[in-house]
Point group: C2
Chain length 439, copies 2
């Protein structure tokens, strides 16, 4: 009988702040990082599950401590106790009464639990020999319902309603798998739009993005209104009328400021405004959306759990949402969120970039297309082209589209050499950094 023999954790940080990649109005100098977890087994094939929390530097050690606190929950379990009941496994972690006090279901502890749950799904998909998107897509509607925690959702989505929704998506599954394999899934790119970039660099990267096949680009905004007006105009002049331009304020504004700012950007014909204000402020998003219509309003990468997504939908606060593979309670909670979005007919544009977020979230979007919403051409997964080289199965982008991964698992595994090189504070990458500073 195969058992879980270890939960190993790593504090891995990349010194991205040196280049201002990833700079936006709230995050001027991120060091993209991962609190990384490996669930090891005594399986003869060295079967293991990989997962991580994405952070932007300081505090990655706190996330690692939170992962370490989960060790007693998994050591000694049989493989079947983990992957044979992925719903029960998640519920025992999320429902632990003492850990729950630290949230509930939000922040450091919830993200750590989410990473461990994702590692369990990686393990399950590897054990099944399937990429995670296919592993999920080939579960039955009842199996999907069984992994979801419907607590606090039943005023808008009961297990029975979820089952009906999933069953309605059953016809055409095989056809959609064929479409996905042939066509890939639309991507959009944020690479041109970081706030730290000059106008020239932004325009050059925007031209390259269009040439590469992307149909949507995203610019960071929110630091200086005149700059934003100019950059949106330049971007429009660069990409022409047929390419979508989204903007992202990264929570920069209060309600009155958001409305005034967006009125100045009204003629930019924006695809959406992302994170105009606090991710906690459902009512503010609803107010802003009414005031700036028809500009679509969006949030979600910091939305901390399914209860918050439920309310965004109930309040009519958003036209579309981001989901994030490493913020909420793992695959299970993201499936609940995708079901809620499908029920409300809200499009999902998954958040990616960072470290490995592209690798993870593509599986959720693809599973959604096959088994839940049945849609992909009216939405797109974010793509940022950095740090993919550290992953054993990096994403493949062709002509502005994600190609469906075929390796078994969740694409979460980092190269051992990358983990060693960028371990903080003792990895060689950080020693060189310290040496350079002293020089």
């Amino acid at each position: 009988m195969v058992k879980i023999t270890a939960l190993d954790t790593y504090d891995v940080r990349f010194p991205t702040s040196r280049e201002l990649d990833g700079s936006d109005a709230m995050n001027p100098d991120p060091d993209y990082s991962a609190a990384y977890v490996v669930l090891r087994t005594d399986d003869a094939r060295h079967l293991a599950g990989h997962g991580f929390v994405f952070t932007i530097g300081r505090g990655n050690d706190v996330q690692k401590a939170a992962l370490d606190a989960l060790r007693p929950f998994v050591l000694g379990l049989t493989l079947d106790q983990v992957i044979g009941d992925l719903g029960g496994f998640a519920n025992r972690l999320i429902g632990d009464s003492q850990l729950r006090w630290l949230g509930p279901e939000k922040g450091v502890m919830h993200m750590a639990i989410g990473a461990l749950i994702n590692a369990a799904w990686d393990l399950a998909a590897r054990h099944a020999g399937k990429p995670l998107w296919r592993f999920i897509a080939e579960l039955s509607p009842q199996q999907i319902v069984n992994v979801i925690d419907f607590r606090y959702l039943t005023d808008v989505l009961t297990p029975e309603q979820a089952l009906a929704l999933l069953r309605a998506a059953e016809p055409g599954k095989q056809e959609r798998i064929g479409q996905l394999l042939a066509e890939g899934y639309p991507a959009y790119t944020t690479s041109p739009g970081w706030l730290g970039y000059s106008d020239e660099k932004m325009q050059r990267l925007a031209r390259e993005a269009v040439a590469d096949g992307f149909r949507t680009i995203k610019l960071k905004v929110g630091l200086n209104l005149d700059d934003d007006v100019r950059r949106c105009r330049l971007a429009r002049a660069t990409v022409g009328p047929d390419i979508h331009i989204a903007v992202d304020a990264n929570q920069r504004w209060d309600v009155p400021q958001a409305i005034a700012w967006l009125h100045r950007l009204a003629d930019a014909n924006l695809a959406w405004i992302e994170e105009p204000t606090s991710p906690d402020d459902i009512l503010a998003h609803a107010t802003i959306r009414r005031a700036v219509a028809p500009t679509p309003v969006s949030t979600g990468e910091h939305t901390h759990n399914r209860v918050m997504f439920k309310q965004l939908f109930q309040a009519g606060a958003v036209d579309l949402v981001q989901i994030d593979a490493a913020r909420v309670g793992g695959v299970n909670e993201n499936l609940a969120i995708l079901l809620l979005a499908a029920k409300f007919g809200v499009r999902v544009f998954p958040h990616a970039g960072g470290v490995g977020l592209c690798e993870l979230v593509q599986h959720l979007a693809m599973a959604d297309f096959i088994a839940i919403s049945g849609k992909k051409e009216d939405r797109a997964i974010e793509f940022v082209d950095h740090l993919h080289e550290h992953f054993v199965h990096p994403v493949t982008i062709r002509h502005g589209r994600y190609i469906a991964p075929d390796a078994a698992g969740f694409s979460a595994q980092m190269h051992d050499r990358s983990i060693a090189e960028y371990s903080y504070p003792d990895g060689p990458a950080w020693h060189e950094s310290a040496d350079a500073l002293r020089a």
Copy 2:
């Protein structure tokens, strides 16, 4: 020039689960704990500031790790850089872009930052030689406004509006200080109502509470409906018609279940129903409130920041709220919440119990009475009679009222011997526990 020389942290846990004190529908076996922080200085009088995060056991080590992560933010600061600008000090911690990713403003990292901010207020009040309630009450309206972060609040409360509200409370301050010193502040007690207690124990403790002068008692509910109906009836028969009975479901229900359950308790004439569902679910509280009126609906002890409180008020989701001294971003954020409550005319019944929560939150309620709302007799601070002996300045309760503390500071300091005895996992209290289990 006095400097901050150390940020010391301690994982202190009390084995309360052995007695079922503190048992409720969501928390069957809490070990009341504190992730404790001391801000030390090189002041000749050994001036130090104390603060803590309250947890219920597992994960207290994660909170301690989060406190440790804050050390670089304070080591080497001058005393004046901390206590001379308590607003700037708090904003630099809460606004740190990298740490912010771990919330933002919620969960483990936000609670740790709140504990450190509280330690800074303890330091400031000790330095001024005043109990914290008086230290706050004697700040000018402008000084109070200066410590508050209005980000995400200005759609309902601007600094100017806050200033006007505080100035309106200026007349009568001295008179109210006199009243507070003479009369104390009303308390209510949860001691009779833990779910693990027998009917007889509940009735005996309820009788004792009334004899001790308490005008409100609270019962835990939510595990079994018939039990709750019986316990509410027994409690009413025990205390008579003039004592208020509140109930607390500790987030146990979904919306439809909450409404059905509360309809069965409708004839109990409840003072309020606390935490009927997820603390994140603003819209659910509004729906429940409309459905169960006139039973007052309440939440707040797990409400993670001012943005959530703002929405509870905007949505008309609550009749009253709890505040918690150790969940949000310290004194600063609680002042923002008290101002919001005053603006909306919502009564505040501070959450206490646990470890040291009574000691802390009394200061905030008393400062609110003097400087913000001007009210105390239509509200009450929770009181639970355990673990006070571990504090250097424990609360004083007389005839069901909190007596205003006169020792300088925030009453947060634990006895060194308690910290040593209950340090986890190496303190003698936990060794004995392990020994007992082995025997």
